[in-house]
């Protein structure tokens, strides 16, 4: 049987196999239930046990009100939902994570838990605990703020705690997907239930720098310095029905409370009240995006009692906007900076952080809390709030609505340097591999280049940039193609995507070898292990040719099993993918449970006896590239008529067994190490050339011959 017809029959067998698999897939797809929330009432009640009450599910969207019974009536404390119903963002394994989120009416996360996830790095890798801990960080944060995943320990290192969560090293892509899921799902629910999520998030409103010299009186006339007098009658009205009267009544015509309120960031207001220097100092202190509101109290009753602690959050003053309380804290500012014409009395400058989502161009309200007591010994306190509104003309501000770019753009920006370095390395690799004659001219240099590049592949691409390509990506792609339809997850890992792109191009030109021989960090690791073990003079085990041929097919079986499982939506795909030691050795630096470490080390030891045994026999990624490598356009390894018959030098020297006794190159098994290419171009090594030289003839290098 000649080689051509052999290949033809193999192709037919593959085609049959694929048709068979596709048939099974089509049949099973009908049986798969649509992905959707899974908890139901029972699951919700388990997560929100008594005294909490799980209310009747909303009839339009799958949201469960979580209520608390208080004094006979129910109060909503949160809206609980499953993220999968609102944001199906495929994770790194291609399957969307499902989170249980409870959003309080003020927009803060009351609860956040992982229901299911298929993130490969956590499954059997880091374990799911770091992921659970990651998600718990959201509790207490507000969904009104765009939240970003920082570096591990970012919060301790000074990142804004209201808008940053600590990332997990080695799981950057997964944590970003979780973050995106959290925020997208929460904003979708907030839009329906809480009246925000459409516009305000990420909005930046800043006072224009324009200054107009005005007097305090003019500020007051315009309402920019608001005088708010609360009359005793208004307070009594607020307490009407309680039977409580003012324990310390003053004259009825005197104001109960008399407040002067001003938003200081606007230069015309701030500089008039504080003076230029103090204004500049205050703006520096509150920082970019911060806000300052002054309250001076001159009435009989003050919202700033004598025991008010500087720098604390005043409990009798509340700033509200859009029905939600704005977090404001005393800035401990000195009175002498305030304009002398302001009324005497206790004062505060309230500092509102960037994270509060405060919009000074929209109206807000300031309320004072008045408390009266009933009874003598254990007095019952009854509190009432009285509010006033403050508003400034919107044209005092610039409003900047952020263009809501998807978060993968951050990934690309953040990894720009890594991308640049990898791109430069790839740009260096291409000419070296293409200019074959140059290899021979300086064999020493080439060998050094190869070692150096492999060190880069292992150290930088693998361990540092975490860009070891993996079968997991294909699993994700298969899941996306057959189930979710969303390939977005690929965008979250820019270095890997860059290498994938490069590999796909080189696959068509040179075949699988460019990746397997040059860009696979685990391959490089094996090569270094073999190189270091050279002094041991370990003898390679010769695998009998028939066994060798059989073993080479194992990787295709593995590949078919993994992709089949992924296409069928089976979680088995994640477990089967563990045949790759990449996660253990590259992603997790061998810091993993013992069986995994032993397996990875075992493969490296195997490599000392059967060179790159894993790559040749087991690697499903290699198998997939070998299959796709059939599209290869070039038979780029030159051959001579003498190759195979009679010369067997290259065949014997090929450490991958990729050259048949006939001299034919088995490209799906070729790792592009360039050994045979070096030999064939070297007149001192290539046997036919040496012989020809002895006979005084020039041997004719035949262009690439048929296989």
């Amino acid at each position: 049987m000649n080689p051509l017809s052999l290949r033809g029959s193999r192709d037919a067998a593959w085609a049959t196999l694929w048709r068979f698999l596709a048939g099974i897939v089509a049949a099973l797809l009908w049986l798969l239930p649509a992905q959707a929330g899974t908890l139901g009432r029972a699951g919700m009640e388990k997560n929100f046990p008594p005294p909490l009450v799980v209310g009747e599910r909303d009839d339009r969207i799958p949201v469960w009100p979580i209520l608390k019974q208080e004094a006979g009536s129910y109060e909503v404390i949160a809206y609980a939902f499953e993220s999968i119903d609102f944001a199906r963002i495929p994770g790194f394994g291609g399957t969307a994570p499902n989170l249980l989120i409870a959003l309080a009416p003020d927009g803060t996360f009351r609860d956040a838990k992982v229901i299911t996830h298929h993130e490969p790095v956590f499954l059997e890798g880091l374990g799911s605990e770091p992921l659970f801990a990651f998600v718990e960080q959201y509790v207490g944060l507000s969904a009104r703020q765009p939240i970003r995943v920082g570096r591990p320990n970012a919060r301790a290192a000074g990142a804004a705690p209201a808008t940053t969560v600590d990332g997990i090293s080695m799981a950057t892509a997964s944590t970003r997907v979780i973050n995106e899921t959290m925020l997208t799902a929460s904003l979708a629910v907030a839009r329906e239930k809480l009246g925000f999520g459409a516009v305000n998030s990420g909005l930046r409103v800043e006072a224009k720098p324009d200054f107009e010299p005005l007097t305090l009186a003019e500020l007051e006339r315009r309402g920019w310095l608001k005088r708010w007098r609360v009359t005793p009658a208004e307070v009594d009205a607020a307490f009407a029905g309680t039977g409580l009267s003012d324990p310390d009544p003053g004259p009825a015509d005197e104001a109960f409370a008399d407040l002067a309120i001003a938003y200081l960031n606007v230069p015309t207001i701030g500089r008039t009240i504080l003076g230029e220097a103090a204004y500049a100092r205050l703006m520096r202190e509150i920082g970019p995006g911060g806000h300052a509101v002054m309250v001076v109290s001159s009435g009989r009753w003050s919202p700033l009692p004598e025991d008010f602690v500087l720098g604390s959050v005043p409990d009798r003053l509340t700033l509200q906007q859009g029905g939600l309380t704005v977090n404001a804290r005393d800035a401990a500012w000195e009175r002498r900076d305030l304009a002398p014409d302001l009324p005497a009395g206790p004062w505060t400058i309230l500092k509102i952080g960037d994270a509060a989502g405060f919009d000074p161009s929209a109206p807000w309200s300031l309320s004072v809390k008045v408390t009266r007591e009933r009874g003598q010994i254990f007095p019952e306190k009854v509190a009432r709030e009285i509010a006033t509104e403050y508003r400034l003309p919107p044209d005092l501000f610039t409003r900047e609505v952020p263009d809501a770019g998807p978060s993968w753009i951050d990934s690309w920006r953040a990894r720009g340097v890594e991308l640049g370095i990898i791109a430069a390395a790839l740009a260096l690799l291409v000419p070296v591999l293409s200019r074959q004659e140059a290899l021979v001219a300086r064999p020493q240099a080439f060998s050094l280049f190869r070692l150096g590049f492999l060190a880069f592949t292992l150290g930088f691409i693998g361990w540092y940039a975490q860009a070891q390509l993996s079968i997991v990506t294909l699993v994700g792609a298969a899941r996306a193609a057959f189930h979710t339809g969303d390939f977005g997850f690929l965008l979250y890992d820019p270095p890997s995507l860059l290498i994938w792109a490069f590999v796909l191009v080189t696959l068509v030109i040179w075949g699988r070898g460019t990746f397997c021989g040059w860009l696979c960090p685990f391959g490089a690791l094996q090569e270094f292990a073999a190189w270091l073990a050279r002094p041991l003079r370990i003898r390679q085990i010769t695998v009998p040719p028939r066994l060798d041929r059989a073993l080479r097919q194992v990787k295709y079986v593995g590949l078919a099993a993994i992709l089949g499982a992924a296409i069928l939506g089976s979680p088995l795909a994640d477990s089967l993918s563990e045949i790759e030691p990449f996660k253990t050795s590259i992603t997790l630096y061998f810091v993993r449970s013992l069986p995994f470490v032993l397996y990875a080390l075992g493969l490296i030891v195997l490599n000392l006896f059967v060179y790159k045994g894993f790559c040749r026999y087991l690697c499903p990624l290699g198998a997939s590239l070998a299959v796709a490598g059939r599209l290869r356009l070039l038979d780029w390894i030159p051959r001579r008529a003498e190759c195979g018959s009679p010369c067997q030098l290259c065949k014997v020297r090929c450490r991958y067994g990729a050259i048949a006794p006939s001299g034919r190159i088995d490209y799906p098994e070729c790792f592009q190490c360039m050994d045979c290419v070096t030999i064939i171009h070297d007149p001192t090594q290539c046997v036919p050339q040496v012989l020809a030289a002895k006979r005084g003839k020039r041997a004719v290098l035949q262009p690439v011959a048929a296989e």
Binding site: D59, A71, G72, Y74, E75, A238, A240, G241, T242
Partner: protein, 330 residues
């Protein structure tokens, strides 16, 4: 009438109006051992389900012989609430009523909307226009002004009052039409009572005779699981204490008060309007009406609030089985 107020005021505020005994007793329904034992002796079980509707919380407490009867009953009861919301809730932009207000006309109206609107127009006639379902323009005026920190002036009020008038709503089986532009209907003055009726009917269809329903207004039938009667506490104004208890409580009760959604801190301006002046009525701070149907209780309490104690009492007396309690404004 109480048009919606999604942003202005936390929902919990309005719930203080009428609560008291029920809360404590609802807790007992599934609570302390002694009561539970008594209930079990009688072979009775109780279950409560809460939810959100009409922009507030609602809750249903059912008593039945076996716990397997609760789930289908709850399902149909909440479906009844959703159906009422879909017909007449202004909290839902896609409800039949919201569409009517947007377009000024509505073909093939929802039968529940027809029921409520017909009752509203009859009550408008019998109350001499004190109850008027077309005061929605006043709500729009006041809520928009309040959001800007203002109080509408006499000319703005007069303009809005000119767009109020229940006689300009034509209700036919084939469609509802406004005769004038800029009109708007609110059924918030009776929709929660109507929902209580619908829920009670759904429960009856399941053979559940003992139930306590809180749809924002209240309804009760039968008794607790332990055999004791339902009790309804009326909260004292603005405080958590009870001023009065209706016990035993069966039938329906509704309250209109000046402290539900307010436009001024002194509760001079709030969510109930006198259709004649565009201002809130000044005589009363609260009216509670008990009636044989939730629709009657809710509608009458709103009408009586606008009419004041004397005229209000006369109106309530026209309906058999109804009585009213008034709290004067302090």
């Amino acid at each position: 009438m109480s048009p919606p107020s999604p942003r202005l005021r936390p929902v919990a505020e309005r719930r203080r109006v009428l609560l008291g005994g029920f809360g404590a007793l609802a807790a007992l329904a599934a609570g302390p051992a002694a009561f539970r034992a008594l209930a079990e002796e009688r072979g009775r079980r109780a279950a409560t389900r809460a939810g959100l509707a009409f922009g507030t919380t609602v809750s249903l407490t059912l008593v039945a012989d076996g716990s397997d009867r609760f789930e289908p009953a709850f399902r149909d009861a909440f479906s009844a609430i959703r159906a009422v919301e879909a017909a007449g809730s202004l909290f839902r932009p896609e409800s039949a009523l919201s569409r009517l207000n947007r377009d000024g006309t509505l073909a093939t109206p929802d039968p529940l909307l027809l029921d409520m609107l017909r009752f509203a127009l009859t009550l408008a006639e019998r109350s001499g226009g004190a109850f008027d379902p077309t005061v929605q323009p006043l709500w729009t005026l006041w809520s928009e002004a309040t959001a800007k920190g203002e109080r509408p002036g006499p000319s703005a009020r007069a303009e809005a009052v000119a767009r109020v008038g229940w006689r300009h709503v034509r209700v036919e089986e084939t469609g509802i039409h406004f005769d004038r532009p800029g009109m708007g209907v609110t059924l918030n003055g009776l929709i929660q009572g109507f929902a209580a009726d619908q829920v009670m009917a759904a429960l009856k269809a399941h053979g559940i005779a003992d139930a306590f329903v809180d749809t924002g207004e209240f309804g009760a039938s039968g008794a607790h699981a332990d055999g004791s009667p339902w009790r309804l506490g009326l909260a004292a104004h603005g405080a958590d204490a009870m001023s009065d208890v209706i016990a035993p409580f069966t039938g329906f009760a509704a309250t209109s008060g000046d402290d539900a959604t307010i436009f001024s801190p002194d509760r001079r301006d709030h969510h109930i309007f006198d259709p004649a002046t565009g201002l809130s009525p000044t005589a009363l701070s609260r009216v509670t009406v008990t009636a044989p149907s939730g629709l009657l209780a809710d509608g009458l309490s709103t009408a009586a609030f606008v009419m004041g104690a004397q005229a209000g009492r006369e109106l309530v007396q026209l309906y058999s089985g109804c009585s009213a309690r008034f709290t004067a404004k302090v």
